[in-house]
């Protein structure tokens, strides 16, 4: 578990700290990385002059020039493939896939190429790339701008999958990913780009600046991959979550007055299994929450691991709360989303058993 456990509790402020939203934090991670290493290059659809559809690359082309920050054809296969070639040359590419839903044309290049280069060449060639991509729903994106495809990538040997849940983490994790010598999928939960999410879509978004996790130090710092973040401590149950859902479960627990040990996994591969085991052994109950579809989702892996490794500590069956096994519907987005009702029900069930 990370020592710098940086929680999202509000109402703590000292006035002089810099507070950034997640977009600004990601932008700063790219800036810091490009400043430190000439081999870091950023590319993707609309990332150059325009600065990205979510503004994550704003100002970078102006600062670092067109050969280090550039727009690409609308061709995700090509974006990943040229990043593989650039990595073989010695660069450290950070391609952006505009929406995680668009990543599928690049899958062969990710799964068969980037993820396998080190292995198949006995480390003669590596793919030190970080593929950034906004993912998840809650912005009325419909079925092609809302998906959470992380389990596709965690299933692939040779890929790391990282998902930040706060601006502080987003910056520190992204810098770690860029410096990592293995290919990393960095999914940015776009629902919480501007502020954490309670799960109540009809309430106004609270901007990040109201929360401590938006305090982002200037300059260079890293958060190691494979270390979970303790969000809250509690004895009643363990909740494993990542991305947007970290904030939803935190809000639900607060509302219900449940004392939960909430772990923000931050990195799915490599996973912080020690933190998970330690927590479940203490609480004896485990709830897993993700927004992605249920069947073969990453929750299934987590559930299996917890059952295999903590079975004799469990006092109730492991529960999963997930999105439904349907495409993400546009008008019924909030019926799909694993919101407070679904999470609350699961908590009640797991505590009752």
């Amino acid at each position: 578990m990370s020592a710098d456990a940086n929680t999202c509790q509000s109402n703590v402020s000292s006035g002089t700290e810099r507070r950034l939203n997640m977009i600004e934090a990601i932008n700063e991670a790219l800036d810091v990385s490009m400043q430190r290493d000439d081999d870091v290059v950023v590319m993707g659809e609309d990332v150059g002059y325009f600065g990205g559809v979510f503004r994550c690359t704003a100002g970078l082309q102006e600062k670092y020039g067109k050969t280090r920050v550039f727009d690409t054809p609308i061709n995700e296969c090509g974006i990943i493939a040229v990043a593989v070639g650039m990595g073989a040359y010695g660069l450290r590419p950070v391609p952006e896939i505009q929406f995680a839903d668009y990543i599928y044309p690049g899958l062969d290049q990710l799964i068969s190429e980037a993820a396998r280069l080190r292995y198949r060449s006995a480390a003669e060639y590596i793919a030190p790339m970080t593929v950034r991509s906004p993912f998840g729903g809650g912005i009325f994106g419909g079925q092609t701008h809302s998906q959470s495809p992380e389990a596709i990538f965690t299933h692939v040997s040779g890929l790391k999958t990282v998902i930040p849940a706060t601006p502080y983490d987003a910056k520190g994790l992204l810098i770690s990913c860029i410096e990592d010598n293995d290919p990393v999928i960095f999914f940015e939960p776009k629902r919480i780009y501007n502020g954490p999410f309670s799960g109540y879509y009809d309430k106004p978004v609270q901007p990040w600046k109201k929360f401590d996790a938006s305090v982002v130090p200037e300059g260079y710092y890293k958060i190691p991959l494979g270390k979970a973040r303790q969000v809250t401590e509690g004895e009643q149950l363990t909740i494993l979550a990542y991305g947007t859902m970290v904030h939803v479960v935190e809000a639900v627990c607060k509302e219900k007055g449940v004392q939960a040990d909430i772990l923000d996994l931050r990195t799915l591969v490599p996973l912080d299994i020690e933190a998970i085991e330690a927590s479940v052994e203490r609480t004896g109950r485990c709830l897993i929450v993700h927004e992605a579809t249920r069947t073969s989702g990453f929750g299934a892996e987590l559930s299996a691991l917890v059952t295999e490794r903590c079975f004799y500590h469990l006092e109730a069956p492991v529960e999963r709360v997930t999105g439904f096994d349907t495409p993400y519907p546009h008008s019924l987005e909030w019926a799909y989303f694993p919101g407070p009702v679904r999470i609350g029900e699961a908590i009640d069930k797991i505590l009752k058993d």
Binding site: P73, C77, A81, L91, Y119, R120, S121, Y125, P270
Partner: protein, 433 residues
């Protein structure tokens, strides 16, 4: 059947019926082969455009055929690279060595020494001569039939055989299917096995070289069948968009396992003509003419190095043998194709040229072939000391888990322990592996 719009095939409809065209090769097993439909222009008849010219000025190159060696075994025309006899003999030597290597490795597979092999018989010029036209540190992203590049670049043959045998000497630790070589030292990218993936990667490497103000260029090889992959479109698009210093070599050997080139669109146009839609320079070249192969690749290399842009080259050739050791070509094509192929054999043509210019003779050729076979035989023996596939002399079990990531994460450490435990159960008291 899925629901269709009402009336689409209804009785009484007077609209003409549509019909689907499924390509069919001209000749199947047992057929008499007649290749007279293939247009073979005179050697030396094609003009040689300036290396920095605009692609629009050379559109006809995509439909012609650059040929240097004529029926008279002499070199002709503007594309004659005018190589000195020593270089020509070297080229012939690499091609002969490649052929000897193929013969031996194919036999090794039949003898059960490995699982798989792929010959490049008839296509040697497209790798050896093309490779000679590049600088030794230009980065190549080959497909699976370019062993001639490694032989030309002086990669130790024993490393190739160790890899083919997946033995304990294999630098790739026995992880890859035979012939999927890799040598960073020889600027030879790790071969994938998935098709056409290397083409946009080569473009990316070339883009990086340009971004860094380097002088090295990239070249990639892909079969005509694999040009149907989306990756090839990605490669052409990125190459043209960024004017990348890259050469896209298409080896049109007429066959993709049992599917003829018609399934990649050859019934409609040439593969070189793919260049036109992208605004790339396109060349169509006699792939069995070693001098034409060299000249075309050098033209493209000079163009790339001058920042004048990428080139797409179609090498028109013929896959004289099966796709691999896993298919029998007599089951899907006429055996006469090989003997009737109008562009001859690349090794024979280069040999005949050297003889015609008084720089070679049949005795020397025979001696060279013999020496090549002996050399391969000797190196094969050396490699066999490191083991052959499936006979125990492989890399230690723990190496299976290395290089998935730079560092071993906990789950792979656990699985590694499991593999070693299984080995101890299967082979009690065995080596510590």
């Amino acid at each position: 059947m899925a629901e269709r719009p009402e009336g689409s095939a209804a009785e009484g409809d007077n609209r003409p019926k549509l019909s689907l065209h499924v390509p069919e090769p001209k000749f199947r097993p047992g057929d008499t082969v007649d290749f007279s439909h293939i247009n073979v222009p005179e050697a030396g008849s094609m003009a040689r455009p300036d290396e920095t010219c605009d692609p629009s000025e050379m559109r006809d190159m995509a439909f012609g055929l650059v040929r240097v060696l004529g029926e008279d075994n002499q070199a002709h025309g503007a594309w004659n690279p005018k190589l000195d006899p020593d270089t020509l003999r070297k080229m012939l030597g690499h091609m002969a060595m490649t052929r000897a290597f193929d013969e031996r490795m194919f036999r090794g597979q039949r003898q059960g020494k490995t699982s798989f092999y792929m010959k490049c018989t008839g296509e040697e010029a497209t790798s050896v001569s093309a490779s000679m036209a590049l600088a030794a540190d230009d980065m190549v992203f080959p497909s699976y039939r370019q062993q001639g590049i490694l032989i030309q670049r002086g990669y130790p043959m024993i490393e190739m055989i160790n890899q083919i045998y997946s033995n304990k000497g294999d630098k790739l630790k026995g992880r890859q299917l035979p012939i999927m070589y890799s040598s960073r030292e020889h600027s030879f990218f790790t071969i994938s096995g998935n098709l056409a993936t290397q083409t946009p990667q080569a473009v990316g490497w070339a883009m990086a070289s340009a971004m860094k103000g380097d002088s090295r260029i990239a070249a990639t090889w892909v079969g005509e069948g694999s040009t149907a992959e989306g990756d090839f479109h990605s490669a052409c698009t990125f190459a043209t968009v960024y004017n990348a210093p890259v050469i896209l070599n298409i080896i049109n050997n007429q066959w993709a396992i049992s599917s003829f080139s018609g399934f990649a669109g050859a019934e409609r146009t040439t593969f070189a003509a793919r260049a036109l839609g992208y605004g790339l320079a396109g060349l169509r070249v006699d792939g069995n003419d070693a001098l034409a192969c060299y000249a075309a690749e050098r033209w493209a290399a000079n163009r790339a190095r001058a920042n004048a842009g990428p080139t797409l080259i179609e090498f028109f050739t013929y896959r004289a043998e099966g796709h691999s050791t896993s298919d029998d070509p007599t089951g899907y094509r006429s055996a006469q194709e090989r003997t009737e192929w109008p562009l001859g054999d690349p090794v024979t043509r280069l040999k005949d040229h050297l003889i015609a210019i008084g720089e070679w003779d049949e005795d020397r050729q025979e001696k060279m072939d013999l020496e090549a076979a002996e050399h391969v035989k000797k190196v094969t023996k050396e490699a066999e000391a490191n083991g052959i596939l499936g006979h125990g002399l492989h890399h230690p079990f723990r190496t299976m888990f290395e290089d998935v990531f730079e560092e071993l994460p906990w789950h792979l450490k656990e699985q590694s322990k499991q593999a070693i435990r299984e080995r101890e159960i299967k082979f009690p008291g065995g080596l510590d592996q």
